[in-house]
């Protein structure tokens, strides 16, 4: 599991994205400094941190960072 705070820390410190919790619900293309390649790196980092596989195909369709978080924490 990963908490929302840890998720935001990962986005900021590992992915170098200048985001806060308020940005999680934004559409990805409006997130500052966002690039589609970030999604691939985010998948790798999340799998490493949570120790569980992500449904890649669905992550790639995720509209927001919050949606990615939901997929990473879905039971």
């Amino acid at each position: 599991m990963i908490s929302v705070e840890e998720y935001v820390t990962l986005l900021r410190d590992e992915l170098a994205l200048p985001v806060t919790e308020d940005d999680l619900g934004r559409s990805l293309d409006t997130v500052d400094a966002w690039d589609s390649v970030h999604l691939l790196t985010l998948c790798t980092l999340l799998e490493r941190q949570t120790g569980r596989p992500l449904p890649f195909a669905r992550v790639l369709e995720a509209p927001s960072l919050a949606a990615v978080y939901a997929l990473a924490t879905a039971s």
Binding site: D13, E14, A16, V37, L40, T41, F56, L60
Partner: protein
């Protein structure tokens, strides 16, 4: 690095990265990739810039942070252009493509990285398929790549095309059930990779991915490949970026020349001062064998022109004893250009060694197992590359070879002879100390200089001089082997090689003069001399011969330029001291002319023979 560093702090980035473990580099790369190279250049105009045009098969965006951080580890600023998705064939085949336009505009070393993965073959297999089908696709792909390399060589003047071997995924081999057919696929695949590796063009470098994969880097993540068309993993791209950065470092002229080794726990196990010569671990026992393995690799590097020196906190007597008499040693005193065993700080020893060898300390690689000594050298001599050895000697070899510090595009006969030459230089210095004045020494030295058009076999060495010479390099214009070859074939230009010898031996090819004839003007485009031989009158004698040649061949004047760098300040006055008038001068450099009315000053202690290869230029 936990925050975006401001562009103004770029000069500190290299030092920060040197302290980071490998697994922290991707993260640092993501931060650095957000820096705008233009802002860094605005704050620090002298930052060496390398242009990289990334093209290839599939999604390669992960290369941007990876290349940024790997080049930054060597102090290089990466200007990266990512091509359109999957445009590599068009990019390389069309001389009017964005790739060639971008490389053509590059100021400084420029690379096209064509990153290819197994999918360029897999995507074209019929269904069903057999090994024969794969062999046919592989043949066609390699032929295409060979043709594209030809176009690149003819179009991208001076730039380098970086290709890579194709990893062979088990997902392909395991689809063939017949054992012989599966083996045939493996053989055909390796033959294709071998053809790539044999692409022998000065404009092409092939990164062999096999050794990286053998270290345990995973080549593919099927999900990333299927869903995101990222056919090679971030880990493999990071390892690839490290190799590409080594190529960039070579092209930027930042080659390392000297390997300085600590002794206790680096070259042998144990502390000599405590355990005595009989107690050091070498050749025998588990740890002894590990140190011998390291010594063999050091000797192997030394045989290819790396100057090896030792700096150790020890008494000199016992160290000399071990190097001379210990039966288990692979490295002997003759393998070192200098052994400094004393109790003074290591950075002082390194600085003196640099002065003795007439090299900059930034051409040094320093390997030590002590974090204290490494930290002190890093702080006092930031240009020195420091190799982190641990208390596990079995890992010494991997640590030493990790960054390809001494890699060169082509090893020349000069490289092979270099260590012996520097040892002769030590003898020469002893000889110097027996004279009251430098003039008396030079007169007794009996220096002979030959100036002649560079023979085809010498052109690689001339390129290497332009890449590696930093101090006596009047313009520091780096030239690839291909560019030197073009210049040698240009009827208006001349590539002259300077060779010298003295009573202590042959120096070989030590310098080059690049001339261009433009009507009545003879232009010295660059003048380079190895730091081993300058300040002995060779440079004045050669310039005198050039002026004499200009006068005899009815030139109106000789023009020459100086372009200032951080390293070549000591030659700023070279042309004015030889009677040239300054046409204009500013902070970036100066332009000079010699009207040929006064003859050059003779240099009586040099015997010079000059051949300019006919009337032109």
């Amino acid at each position: 690095m936990s925050d975006l560093p401001p562009a103004a702090e770029w000069p500190s980035v290299r030092g920060l990265l040197a302290e980071l473990p490998d697994d922290a580099l991707p993260r640092a790369g993501r931060f650095l990739a957000r820096l705008d190279p233009a802002e860094v250049l605005a704050a620090h105009p002298a930052t060496p810039l390398v242009s990289l045009y990334v093209t290839g098969h599939g999604t390669l965006a992960a290369l941007r942070p990876a290349l940024t951080v790997e080049l930054a580890r060597h102090g290089l600023l990466a200007a990266i252009t990512l091509a359109d998705f999957d445009a590599w064939v068009r990019d390389l085949a069309d001389p009017g493509s964005d790739l060639y336009a971008t490389l053509g505009k590059a100021d400084g070393p420029a690379f096209a990285l064509a990153v290819l993965g197994p999918e360029i073959v897999a995507a074209e297999l019929p269904l069903p398929w057999r090994a024969d089908d794969a062999a046919r696709v592989l043949d066609a792909k390699i032929e295409l790549i060979e043709k594209l390399a030809g176009t690149f060589a003819a179009t991208a003047n001076g730039a380098t095309l970086v290709l890579n071997t194709l990893p062979l995924p088990r997902e392909l081999t395991a689809q063939l059930l017949d054992r012989r057919d599966r083996a045939a696929l493996g053989a055909a695949w390796r033959e294709a990779n071998a053809r790539l590796l044999r692409l022998d063009r000065p404009e092409v470098a092939v990164v062999d991915l096999d050794p990286l994969l053998a270290e345990g880097v995973c080549a593919r993540d099927p999900r990333q490949s299927v869903y995101a068309k990222a056919h090679l993993t971030d880990d493999l791209l990071a390892a690839y970026a490290r190799e590409a950065a080594h190529l960039a470092r070579q092209a930027a002229g930042a080659a390392k020349k000297v390997l300085v080794l600590d002794l206790d726990e680096t070259v042998w196990g144990g502390v000599l001062g405590e355990v005595g010569p009989e107690g050091v671990e070498v050749a025998e026992g588990y740890r002894g064998e590990a140190f011998t393995r390291f010594q063999r690799v050091v000797r192997q590097l030394g045989s290819q022109g790396v100057l090896v020196a030792a700096v150790s906190k020890n008494d000199p007597g016992p160290v000399a004893g071990v190097l001379r008499d210990h039966p288990g040693m692979t490295l002997r005193d003759g393998d070192f250009v200098q052994v400094r065993a004393n109790w003074r700080p290591k950075h002082d020893n390194l600085a003196e060694l640099a002065a003795d060898l007439n090299l900059g300390a930034d051409s040094f690689v320093f390997a030590d197992d002590s974090p204290f000594e490494r930290g002190l050298v890093r702080r006092e001599l930031p240009g020195v590359a420091v190799v982190d050895l641990t208390d596990e000697p079995a890992l010494h070899v991997a640590a030493l070879l990790r960054d390809g510090w001494f890699d060169v595009p082509r090893l020349t006969s000069e490289d092979l002879a270099r260590p012996a030459r520097y040892r002769e230089e030590d003898a020469r210095r002893g000889f110097l100390e027996s004279f009251d004045s430098l003039d008396g020494y030079l007169a007794e030295l009996g220096t002979e200089v030959r100036l002649a058009p560079a023979a085809p076999a010498q052109l690689d060495r001339v390129s290497q001089l332009t890449l590696r010479t930093n101090q006596f390099n009047l313009t520091t214009r780096r030239l690839s082997p291909a560019e030197v070859r073009d210049l040698a074939g240009d009827p208006d230009a001349r590539v002259l090689a300077i060779a010298s010898a003295d009573r202590f031996g042959e120096h070989g090819l030590v310098g080059a003069v690049l001339l261009r004839r433009d009507g009545g003007v003879l232009r010295v485009e660059n003048f380079l001399l190895s730091c081993r031989v300058f300040a002995r009158g060779i440079e004045q004698a050669v310039l005198g011969a050039v002026l004499e040649h200009a006068r005899r061949s009815a030139a109106r004047e000789v023009r020459a330029a100086y372009r200032r760098t951080a390293k070549n300040g000591r030659v700023a006055g070279f042309y004015p001291e030889a009677g040239f008038a300054t046409v204009h001068a500013d902070e970036a450099g100066a332009e000079f002319r010699h009207d040929l009315t006064r003859p050059p000053e003779p240099v009586p202690h040099i015997r010079l023979s000059a051949d300019f290869g006919g009337q032109q230029p």
